[in-house]
Symmetry: C3
Subunit: 308 residues, 3 copies
Amino acid sequence: MQITPTSLQHIAALIDAPFIGNANHIITGFNEIHRVSLGDVVFVDHPKYYDKALQSAATTIIINKEVECPSGKALIIHPEPFTAFNTLTRHFSPRQYSSQAISNTAKIGKNTIIMPGCFIGNEVTIGDNCVLHPNVVVYDHCQIGNNVTIHANTSIGSDAFYFKKRASSFEPLYTCGNVVIHDDVVIGSNCSIDKGVSSQTSIGKWSILDNHVHVGHDVEIGERCLFAAQVGIAGACKIGNNVTIWGQVGISSGITIEDNATLLAQSGLGENVKNGQTYFGSPAGPAKEKMRELFAAKQLPDLIKKLY
Amino acid sequence: MQITPTSLQHIAALIDAPFIGNANHIITGFNEIHRVSLGDVVFVDHPKYYDKALQSAATTIIINKEVECPSGKALIIHPEPFTAFNTLTRHFSPRQYSSQAISNTAKIGKNTIIMPGCFIGNEVTIGDNCVLHPNVVVYDHCQIGNNVTIHANTSIGSDAFYFKKRASSFEPLYTCGNVVIHDDVVIGSNCSIDKGVSSQTSIGKWSILDNHVHVGHDVEIGERCLFAAQVGIAGACKIGNNVTIWGQVGISSGITIEDNATLLAQSGLGENVKNGQTYFGSPAGPAKEKMRELFAAKQLPDLIKKLY
Amino acid sequence: MQITPTSLQHIAALIDAPFIGNANHIITGFNEIHRVSLGDVVFVDHPKYYDKALQSAATTIIINKEVECPSGKALIIHPEPFTAFNTLTRHFSPRQYSSQAISNTAKIGKNTIIMPGCFIGNEVTIGDNCVLHPNVVVYDHCQIGNNVTIHANTSIGSDAFYFKKRASSFEPLYTCGNVVIHDDVVIGSNCSIDKGVSSQTSIGKWSILDNHVHVGHDVEIGERCLFAAQVGIAGACKIGNNVTIWGQVGISSGITIEDNATLLAQSGLGENVKNGQTYFGSPAGPAKEKMRELFAAKQLPDLIKKLY
């Protein structure tokens, strides 16, 4: 999430926290660790991840321990960095609940058809020649390119499923990112595409999603991908170009799938996939290995009979 | 389903059926066998379940055979108890189809935001500080607590998937229960939570459901549960507190999952799970056993090669 | 798709293509190869399928090579038959985007209840005594019989997931078919039923679909079928009568399932199933074999321990 540039002093005051660094150190945005760039605030609350956060591109780190501040960066010391980060992102991007079906601040391109029952949130942009079939919901700040088709009852921009376990409850990481759908994308009916928590969930040009597809927060999908019905992709996955995913495949969070890969139907993927590989199974592995295992499994009952 | 107390005589007359018991025996509600309490009518149509029904907490039993009546209870004799029960529940809780997007009889709390395109049925209650994102549907009689968030295109209160096979068709068990969502629950987009057939489907405080989750009729979900996307829970399951269910898990009807259990992604659960256990696989078993089997399966092709 | 009868000469002119056959040869419709009948135009663009197309019931074939024309038939020669076919079907059945929630040209029967937020497209017909719960979407030209119940947020008639890979994109086969839902069908909430590409997707009398079911283009479902939640059926499957499919089953495209078959939960079906058979597993096989394999797999770790 980008903001109008502001100072370290100002940010720290908003959460009533001491800071280390130049009071006028500049802050231009907020992001979680996988997406940070120069000017961003990031948070870290576990020693295991201190180094990663301190050495990331982020120039301001909210941290729960006073550590040495990297040169040219700033630290904000807070006992609950997760909560502090939420307080700040809520402050700079508060929820606004449009009471209009199509917000006054939405920008909709030429020849774009928004069918009855759709909801288009605040500051949404939609390009030219799109069709949003009935009852599609597009949450605030999402961006849709040209020539995009979205089928009925699909939800674009729901909140990230990203929660921190607390003593008696779950604290959500406040969702302030968006969804960016590039030109010529087709999305089926009853799909859900979550926003990035502070960055983007994106779907590349010419990618096609069938019905009931779930795309988690911060997922990046390349160009010319084809996802069949009921595929579920957990948060923060990175999927290349020309990736084909057949029906009911599930992918764990944070997985990388390189270009031209294929996942066969009902696979459950928990590891990265290299360029051009085909995976199968639950848990999924290279399809050739899995097919060999399946063939062997068929022989097993007779083998056991023979051996005992 | 509770009703204004009425007499055995009255109920029996409505379905034109003979009864055994005091004509003034009191009836205060209707429930199916797993949920009955004192004052309830239950039905039974198979000798295998006669004893269970007769000895249940229900005090009036619609039955298709004249049997000995337990002391202090009443029987109604009907050749088709399932149909008779449906006739009665329809009589006392007829479908009313609100033609308003937000029914006049719905009660909505303070600071609760109902976004455009939502439907709120008759006699629905929604607490304070809730957000119902666009196009959420809440069927008649459902109850939603405080601080509940429900994302776009989610359906709360659709009918139970509970049908009796007839010679040439299916007869539904008439749905007259509801859904009760407790405080601080978060439900993702495009989810479906079915009503209880005559009782409640419930989701406990602080439980979180991701997108595309299906919850069947009469499911009871405890507190602080976390269900990832595309989980499907069949009817009448009982899920404890702090249960974590990863993506695309399916659970058969009537299963009990105790507190603190975890089901790994894509598991297909057909047996009960004890406190704190982790299950995996389809069909699912204790995760350690399943991992051991998976490890062995990888070795099997070479083993077979060696043996033959 | 049926059209007002027209001539070969007229059709060929619309796509600026040479033809072989009588200029007044009659054309009465368009269909893809699995659904053609007398009077239909079909297309074929791969030598592997030339014979099938030429010998099908279709009487006009758009083809990318000049071949011998079967007696009494006609050929239209076009370098891109897929695109030419799309041009023609778009011409005869152009998209019309109703700006009304319930189109003026929709016909709705007696005692049928259309709840708030529903969209009913152009030339839709809905029979008597139906209930469409809130926010159901019925696309143009779909047909719904009598006594049909459709639950909230379900989409009837979204486009086929049928794309041809091009150098840098995907070209959709233009969807101009419809969905036909016969009498007494019940469909759960958040389901998606795609249209046939040029013919029908159909659901037979008394069939029941639970929530989150996906039915692909041109699927034919018989009578008295029961599909549990989150079942996904890919395009062009043919499912008989009295077929029971449990939760989260996935079925590949073009599969035939005969009457009285059962697919157990989470199965992934890639082969045809004969009358009365029960299948299980992913990939699915006869349930008895699969259960035997599963039983053997449980013994495998100990077997390996013993052997090594």
